[in-house]
């Protein structure tokens, strides 16, 4: 049996729908229960539902053989896992945003820019690549508030439609990268449970691109 860690929330339903399309179904009553671990109908898979940011951890340590989480989370966690499939779900951008007034402004290369974000690693890497000194302020939610209240000059956050930004008077300054949900696989499971893992990958690939 393979254990699969699924990100709760935004991606959960879409991911389960894709698994169902691949013939891997979880009974409705199981899903509606409050269980954190449920079995697929054919008993081939155990799904565990965890916070999105924790998916790479479960998979990297091998307590889950595979997992589904956004590329944003993978980049931030720098998880050492295989990433065999782009599941094309939950498309978003990871963007730098700020108040309208700062949008056109150049960065002062001698002063640190203060950036509020859920993604300190991604933000730091982006600004360092541009040679701009950065100070990150870690926030776990409502990141858009930071520039409004003057906590930071800019934010680095997920942008889906840009509506939240606009409604808070913020604008995208630059898109760092794009993100979609990925299937990730533990490095040891890839070899030790090779048959089951390759079967899962090909079933999901088939569901994504029916031949």
């Amino acid at each position: 049996m393979l254990t699969i860690a699924l990100a709760k929330g935004r991606l959960q339903e879409d991911a389960l729908a894709l698994f169902a399309k691949a013939g891997i179904v979880v009974a409705e009553e199981e899903l509606n229960s409050r269980k954190l671990a449920v079995l697929s109908a054919d008993q081939r898979f155990k799904f565990v539902f965890v916070k999105p940011g924790d998916v790479p951890t479960y998979v990297e340590y091998g307590v889950a053989d595979a997992g589904v989480c956004g590329r944003d989370v993978l980049l931030e966690a720098k998880a050492d896992v295989h990433e065999p499939l782009d599941l094309k779900l939950g498309y978003c951008k990871i963007a730098v945003a700020g108040r309208k007034e700062v949008v056109g402004q150049d960065y002062n290369l001698l002063a640190t820019v203060r950036v509020a974000t859920k993604y300190p690693n991604i933000a730091t890497e982006y600004f360092h690549r541009k040679g701009i000194p950065i100070e990150t302020v870690y926030l776990s939610g409502s990141v858009e508030l930071a520039p409004i209240l003057g906590l930071s000059d800019r934010i680095v956050d997920l942008v889906e439609t840009g509506r939240t930004l606009r409604e808070n008077g913020l604008e995208v300054i630059d898109v760092i990268t794009e993100t979609t949900a990925r299937l990730i696989v533990n490095r040891a499971s890839f070899h030790l449970k090779r048959d089951a893992v390759s079967k899962l990958i090909s079933e999901l690939a088939e569901a994504l691109n029916p031949s």
Partner: protein, 367 residues
């Protein structure tokens, strides 16, 4: 916070059963190495930083703990054993008959990033065999690794075999620059076939769609004979083809030795290419999320310290082995009770009895 309760990140204390188990695993492994005529070598805990930079490359030597000698020379805690062994062989063992077989057991220190969760002090066990070319020596070290795992009761292990020239040949044939090479390697390593396909479309436009597909598929494959057949059908460049045939011959020998069940060929492993020159391998056991050991051929390393010589070796993390033993068979280290001797006020009599028992190798405990 007091240094009585806090310990630095990445280091560990061991006591009681944990120590017994660690020593048991270490002894077991060293006995197997000795059984194949590998002599233990003890090397210093620190040496000149320059030595490690020469051996492992400047980038990897960056991850050392460094400090200065009294004369200002830059020193480093050993981040690995192989450079120290290689230097010894190239200088002190110049006139010794080849092949030279050495094994070691000891702590190494590495500062990895991101490191919050990672150990910085590791106990490594390993062997190096110098002076014998592939495939004889390669097969020997693979069999030693297998025997060692078996001697610890880890019978479900899997060793994946790869070869650096598999990747090198592809990158060369596609005329990749340094940047693209790194990206290609990363994509193969993550087994991200979709992104790999897109990357090749952009950066290797000369590749036909059919060949691109086949190549992407190949990098997702790890397997037995069928993987070799697939690779033979997919890759045309000379360097990769030679690598495939070398792997195939090693695998065939393992097969004839009835060991093939434990081995897989992995065409999606592009690790260690700046250091290894031929065969590479990684060892996996159930219950451990990452490889617990690995090694390969490094025919260029010794030449950094003297004349060029073929060499092959492996190392295991003692932690990985210990965890695997715990998870796979509930090893119970025994702390045998021994004989209790009561002092009862007569010191001389009690210790006389204790010494007598000790002379018969009996374990005693003064109470």
């Amino acid at each position: 916070m007091s240094s009585l309760t806090k310990i630095p990140a990445g280091v560990q204390y061991f006591f009681d059963d944990e120590v017994r188990l660690r020593r048991h695993v270490e002894r077991q492994a060293m006995e197997v190495f000795a059984g194949w005529s590998y002599n233990e070598i003890i090397v210093p805990m620190f040496d000149y930083h320059d030595l490690f930079a020469r051996g492992m490359g400047a980038e990897r030597a960056e991850r050392t703990y460094r400090f200065t000698d009294r004369d200002g020379a830059l020193l480093a805690l050993r981040p690995e054993m192989t450079s120290l062994v290689a230097r010894t062989v190239a200088t002190r063992f110049v006139h010794r008959e080849r092949p030279i077989r050495l094994c070691y057991s000891g702590e190494v220190f590495r500062y990895d990033e991101p490191t919050e969760r990672a150990a910085r002090e590791f106990h490594q066990l390993g062997i190096e065999q110098i002076g014998q070319p592939s495939p004889t020596a390669d097969i020997e070290v693979l069999l030693i690794a297998a025997e060692m795992l078996g001697s610890l009761g880890l019978n479900d292990f899997r060793i994946t075999l790869s070869h650096v020239d598999f990747f090198n040949g592809v990158a060369k044939a596609l005329e990749m620059n340094e940047n693209n090479r790194a990206q290609l390697r990363e994509l193969i390593d993550r087994r991200n076939s979709v992104a790999l396909d897109e990357f090749l479309q952009t950066n290797a436009p000369s590749m036909t769609e059919e060949r691109r597909r086949a190549f992407c598929q190949l990098t997702q494959i790890a397997g037995k004979g069928e993987a070799i057949t697939k690779a033979r059908g997919t890759l045309r460049n000379e360097t990769s083809r030679t690598a495939i045939e070398q792997l195939a011959s090693i695998y065939e020998t393992l097969n004839e030795l009835e060991m093939a069940d434990h081995f897989d060929i992995d065409f999606g492993d592009a690790g260690g290419i700046e250091y290894y020159t031929g065969l590479t391998f990684k060892v996996y056991v159930p219950g451990c999320g990452n490889e617990i050991g690995g090694g390969g051929r490094y025919d260029n390393l010794i030449s950094n310290f003297g004349k060029s010589e073929p060499a092959v070796g492996f190392s295991f993390a003692l932690d990985g082995l210990v965890n695997a033993v715990i998870r796979n068979q509930n090893f119970q280290p025994t702390d045998e009770a021994g004989q209790t001797i009561n002092l009862d006020g007569n010191l001389v009599q009690a210790f006389r009895q204790a010494r007598k028992l000790r002379s018969q190798q009996t374990k005693v405990k003064i109470q």
